[in-house]
Symmetry: C2
DNA sequence: ATGGTATTATTGTCAGACAATCATACAATC
DNA sequence: GATTGTATGATTGTCTGACAATAATACCAT
């Protein structure tokens, strides 16, 4: 006649995963640490190996552990790609439109370029210049594929130059699906861009250390390049 | 002596999950559809039930299916909470600082208020005004808890008014940890704010349909309120 | 010490079993 | 006839045991 209020409605694997997660998070800093074997965990948690396995699948999906067949599980850190996939799923399944994606990207990048204008160092500026030049070269050579690569790298470098890890992470996550859209659009449409003119304008503003101007240049550039996405479905 | 090129280095559960995911995604629109039983899936995929179970755990972690014990699995859509959790994990595990969080929040909110200035409708503006008033009232009454609630709701309402689902989603995900920080800071520090003055300024700019001014007001307000976060650890 | 080999531990997958839970059909009641 | 309660079957949740594939380790020969 045990009453058994059953406050834990969760399933056993979720409960185990939660415990493991708190253990992992409290142990951060000491990463790349190997976990006990599944049998050992099953014994210490008082559940069967199947439950531990399902818990590990959950944690792997969250990017918190990595498993190699035959070897033990290791603690790991979630990667940006992890978040990017979640966003992509969300975008394809919910009512988020390509325009939403682009607007968020503009928000992140304008903020990034503001911060970059204050953090800019010589090495970073030189790298941006190299990328802008390489892009212009690829464009005059007619190599649109390489042009796009350099373009993406340029914008990513600005996000990195902001010195804000979260900003960079968000930018990458949003840029990934946009990049795929762009690739599909490139195969169909004609491409149009100012041959790296805007990129150089941005670099100049960054070198001068003028956040407002840098933001304005990026905003112009992005508004212009948005046309290339038109007609591209998610 | 079968060569067995083994092009699929993935584990069986991942392969099954991938197949199921493409099936689900291609069937979107016809959601709330029930999947076959685990046994049936195991038979049709030619694997054991354990493999199907692990695949389902993966899909559940991605928010693509929901399971009720005893009943079948149902196709489902990922929720914002799903993404928010991923972001929270990412924030607690990496070297992201409170300042990073705040900067991203400013980026998202300034973009949101710009868009809101263009999308503003009477009902939304009225709601914002009610919230600003309620906040000012709570502040004069000395009820800091309620004041904070209205404050958060006000900013969330602006994000929602942008009409951009992804922007709102990101904002909520970033605001959640900031909100916790603020609560802790509130218990220690004295709080200082302009009694809802800035909020009213923002609403005015929105009503006038002036994106630039609205952004500037929000920026001022946020720069001012950032002091309240000082000394609060993540 | 170094490199190759054998042993051992661990994971990946399978099969079968049973209890707990849910869905459904059916009977009973108003 | 609609609703409620019950019985039955299906399904999931968990456990156990097993074996092959793979990685880590210890051991041995050079």
């Amino acid at each position: 006649m045990s009453i058994d209020y059953r406050l834990d409605r969760k399933s056993l694997p979720e409960a185990v995963a939660e415990k493991l997660e708190t253990m992992i998070l409290s142990d951060r800093g000491r990463l790349t640490q190997r976990l006990p074997s599944e049998q050992a965990m099953a014994a210490s948690f008082g559940v069967s190996r199947s439950v531990v396995r399902e818990a590990l699948v959950l944690l792997r999906a969250r990017g918190l552990v990595s498993q190699k067949s035959g070897a033990c599980s290791y603690i790991s850190s979630p990667t940006p790609e992890n978040l990017a996939q979640a966003i992509r799923r969300m975008v394809t399944l919910s009512d988020i439109t390509p325009q939403d994606l682009f607007e968020v990207r503009v928000a992140l990048e304008t903020a990034a370029v503001r911060l970059a204008a204050e953090n800019a160092d010589a090495a970073g500026l030189a790298r941006l210049e190299r990328l802008a030049e390489a892009m212009a070269e690829a464009e005059t050579a007619g190599d649109r594929e390489r042009r796009t690569e350099y373009d993406i790298e340029f914008h990513g470098a600005i996000a990195a130059m902001s010195g804000n890890l979260l900003l960079k992470l968000f930018f990458d996550s949003v840029a990934a699906p946009l990049r795929e859209m762009l690739k599909r659009a490139l195969e169909a449409n004609e491409f149009e861009d100012g041959g790296g003119y805007y990129h150089r304008q941005v670099v100049e503003a960054l070198r001068a250390g003028e956040p407002e101007r840098a933001e304005e240049e990026i905003r112009l550039h992005l508004a212009r390049s948005m046309r290339n996405y038109e007609g591209a479905a998610l």
